[in-house]
């Protein structure tokens, strides 16, 4: 399991691995928003939590269609399926590696980009916490979507359509927590909801993804 995690991180960091793609996308979206909205600091400040959450979600989605497809195409997935590792574990580890290379940089970059959007000072802490709690769920749900579409050529579109509705609860509560904090309100309840959704997803999704993968490998 650890070997697989280390291998996925190494592959992502080496040339052509796609590390930084999500981060660059996030950066571009957030930098362009003030230009398209216009010079309205209070409007920007109000929409900042939502824009940051939406940008992070879409950036997360960007690299998901290669999560399992690469291993499927070069045969590594077949070989992993015949190895002592359970497929559930394989999917969970790959989702974890995806989070470290995509989700974690987004969490760390979000406060910097918050400045560009004139985010209220009270909002930064909760924004980071809500993203840190929510993005693991995005990676795990995405891994499930990738497992569903693994045998399909150009399955990225189908995967996005399948995964986006599942992302909605995390987005609602994550953005709500950041918005409340930015307005100086108590953000505990939505934060707990995000944490609960993530805990449930991390507990159940690996089994769903493993089962789906087993069917798709036949």
């Amino acid at each position: 399991m650890r070997a697989l995690f280390v291998r996925d991180l190494t592959l992502a960091l080496r040339a052509g691995g796609g590390f930084g793609l999500g981060l660059a996308f996030f950066l571009i979206v957030v930098v362009l928003v003030p230009f398209s909205v216009g010079p309205a600091p209070d409007l920007l400040a109000r929409s900042a939590p939502g824009v940051l959450w939406l940008g992070a979600l879409l950036a997360c989605l960007l690299s998901l269609d290669r999560l399992l497809a690469v291993d499927f195409e070069d045969g590594a997935l077949d070989l992993l399926a015949t190895s002592p590792l359970p497929l559930e574990g394989v999917v969970a580890v790959k989702a974890a590696a995806h989070w470290v290379t995509t989700g974690l940089p987004l969490v760390l970059a979000a406060p910097v980009l918050g400045v560009l959007l004139n985010l209220a000072p009270e909002g930064y802490g909760v924004l980071v916490v809500s993203l840190a709690l929510g993005t693991p769920a995005l990676s795990m749900i995405g891994a499930f979507g990738a497992a569903l579409t693994v045998g399909i050529k150009r399955g990225g579109l189908l995967m996005s359509l399948l995964v986006l509705p599942l992302y909605v609860p995390t987005l609602i509560f994550g953005a709500e927590a950041a918005r409340r904090a930015a307005q100086g309100l108590d953000a505990t309840t939505p934060l707990l909801f995000v944490a609960g959704i993530t805990a449930g997803v991390l507990a159940l999704m690996p089994f769903a993804a493993g089962a789906v993968l087993r069917v798709n490998l036949r």
């Binding site: 070069d74 045969g75 070989l79």
Partner: protein, 204 residues
């Protein structure tokens, strides 16, 4: 413990391809699968490897004992030869990759990136993975594709060493490896699958 296949029926996408396949493969034994393209050799091998369930029949002694190699080698172009092997070793709980590198003449290439290998060298690396896994049953699907005569010899030697160490091998190949192996022609079982499908239609 030997691998036994009894009255096995295998299919692709719900369509039966082979039926009534029976054989046993004990320690130190090898079996060569023969049959024209599309006759179901790959499907049979994937079933034995546990990648798909059999449609009927019993498969014993394959669980967690099979190392499988197909047309694709599962190599990562961005990793070096040694890193690729070490990864598969770690997955199968093994650390020692040197015997595998030596068996397939890859020692000099150990630090080269897999991306810069030729097709034959990649294939050799893919087969070296079988040695690294230390699994007793090798299931090989056309292992000699893109290998030259010398590499085929290396491969045959590796299989022989594996058999002498008490392993067994099930190989689908069209060339003569010079192994002391029984040949299993899948063509007659294919006919059985056809009649099975017709019987179903008649029944409906």
């Amino acid at each position: 413990m030997e691998l036994t296949v009894t009255d096995l029926a295998v299919g692709r996408g719900g369509v039966p391809v082979l039926a009534g396949v029976s054989f046993a493969l004990g320690a130190g034994q090898a079996r060569v699968l023969r049959g024209p393209n599309g006759s179901g050799k790959t499907t049979l091998l994937r079933t034995v490897a546990g990648l798909q369930p059999p449609m009927a029949g019993v498969l014993k002694g394959a669980e967690d004992r099979v190392a499988y190699a197909a047309h694709t080698d599962g190599l990562k172009a961005a990793l070096s030869v040694a890193e690729n092997l070490r990864f598969w070793g770690a997955v199968f709980g093994q650390r020692d990759i040197d015997p595998a590198l030596q068996a397939f003449d890859l020692v000099a290439l150990a630090d080269r990136r897999a991306a810069s290998l030729s097709a034959g060298q990649k294939r050799r690396l893919g087969l070296a993975r079988m040695v690294v896994t230390r699994r007793p049953v090798w299931v090989l699907d056309e292992p000699t594709v893109s290998l030259d005569a010398a590499s085929v010899q290396l491969f045959a030697d590796a299989v022989r060493a594996h058999l002498n160490a008490g392993g067994s091998a099930l190989i689908a190949t069209h060339i003569n490896l010079g192994l002391d192996a029984e040949v299993l022609d899948v063509t007659p079982f294919r006919a059985a699958a056809d009649t099975m499908a017709h019987a179903d239609e008649a029944f409906l």
